[in-house]
Symmetry: C2
Subunit: 268 residues, 2 copies
């Protein structure tokens, strides 16, 4: 969370996001669903709800439904400078989420670490330090995965730092929009007719908001952050996602799995 | 360059890449063009040719022609852990390349720094430290740019670290291939006919190899690295790219601009 976000929040205790967090704290609401500013929502939730025992930094989990089998990626932008153990905790939380909170939940989800090559020596210092934490855990860890693997269904959960994750998210949005425009122009120039509903279907297939928005994992509460451009379907999907996470008891599951996956922890 | 690449190189002094580097060193060849392994080519070129005066780490520059005006990005994978001054040097080298070595060269190219927001406080520590180096230089610096800006023509040169750059490159390849497959399936299901040449045209518009491959900037020689899957057009484009870089005298230009853009340097 940035300092400016925290400062803005303190100066506006009556903002809609601060009041919604308050409703969760006072148990008037079971979950928080916001289509507002992501940074403000992360800041307000982290400050107001606190983090789960043992969790240092919350992460934003986004689920893509590209191949007919969903892929959950995290962190997509909550924390640009994570430590290796934060990445490991994202793996645990993402694994719980992928197993218990998705319509097509995976049994013992395959967890991968986003890298620029499969070999152990690849990538940043952060990734080299995080790798043994995953390898030594009880997660169903499948090793380093490459960006193209998101479209190949080689992992159910893909862990990355918040900077890279946010680049991935924004690049996918930008490239998809660009390519679909190109396709439409190309079709028009060939006098090929193609209905707007087919285009909408394509757009939806890469739009994570259609799958229920983003979950902020690691705070003491269920928080779903939708896209600012969400339509009514995306909003109702986000509400449904929040309800599924509540029903699954995701907070308790994460706490249990954090303890199990890394037995030496005593504070989880 | 990874240790394993350097070791592999030393153990194989007669490999085709080592001999091609040798031909450039002995001035039997003016430039090196390879469609082989990128890591091996970077390692062989860096070891064999050395770096330009003042340049610490070479960077891989890739040019996309998406909007009718080319965008050059670097580093796309030579150096996963650059320092702020390396990023700055990528900006200078990318600027020279975009001005002098492209068919549609830009006058005083606009240089942006890839980030997850336009504000100065955004992103990693590396980016926060690199920002003032760009701001205090004579580059035509347009500030932080976001991943979606690659498709919006807001900068001619986009600077990033080699890890993020390589993620961007591989994600673009993966997503483009995935989306085009989706489009073809969707078209077929609507009984819409669309020729393979239209598909090929679309593929080419996002394929950097079609624009002449990747240039390794910062070594004492002209080095072009093509995609392993290059067809004859891509190979001839890569050769043409190498010839243009030679004709433009890119090595001398980079040396001059490094001195000019950062006047306090004495070793350039």
């Amino acid at each position: 969370m940035s300092d400016s976000a925290a400062a803005a929040l303190r100066s506006k205790p009556d903002s809609s996001i601060a009041r919604t967090v308050g409703a969760v704290v006072e148990k008037k609401a079971g979950a928080l669903v916001s289509m507002g500013n992501t940074g403000a929502c992360v800041a307000a939730s982290t400050l107001g709800l606190g983090t789960l025992p043992g969790i240092r930094r919350p992460g934003i989990a986004v689920t893509f439904d590209l191949t007919g089998r969903p892929v959950t990626m995290l962190d997509m932008g909550a924390n640009s400078a994570p430590k290796p153990e934060h990445l490991y905790q994202y793996g645990v939380m993402g694994s719980v989420f992928a197993q218990d909170c998705l319509v097509q939940g995976a049994e013992h989800p395959r967890v991968g670490l986003l890298n620029i090559g499969e070999e152990a020596g690849k990538g940043t210092g952060l990734l080299k330090e995080a790798l043994p934490l995953f390898q030594g855990s009880s997660l169903n860890f499948v090793g380093n995965v490459e960006p193209g693997d998101i479209f190949e269904n080689t992992a159910d959960v893909v862990v990355t730092d918040g900077f890279t994750g946010n680049v991935v998210l924004k690049l996918m949005e930008g490239l998809a929009g660009f390519l679909l425009q190109l396709v439409m122009r190309e079709l028009a120039s060939h006098d090929v007719r193609w209905g707007p509903e087919a285009l909408a279907k394509l757009k939806k297939s890469i739009d994570y908001a259609e799958y229920g928005g983003a979950l902020l994992l690691g705070v003491t509460g269920v928080v779903v952050i939708g896209h600012g451009r969400s339509d009514e379907t995306a909003v109702s999907n986000a509400l449904r996602q929040a309800a599924r996470a509540l029903d699954a008891g995701i907070l308790a599951e994460i706490g249990r799995d954090l303890g199990r996956a890394q037995p030496e922890r005593t504070d989880a």
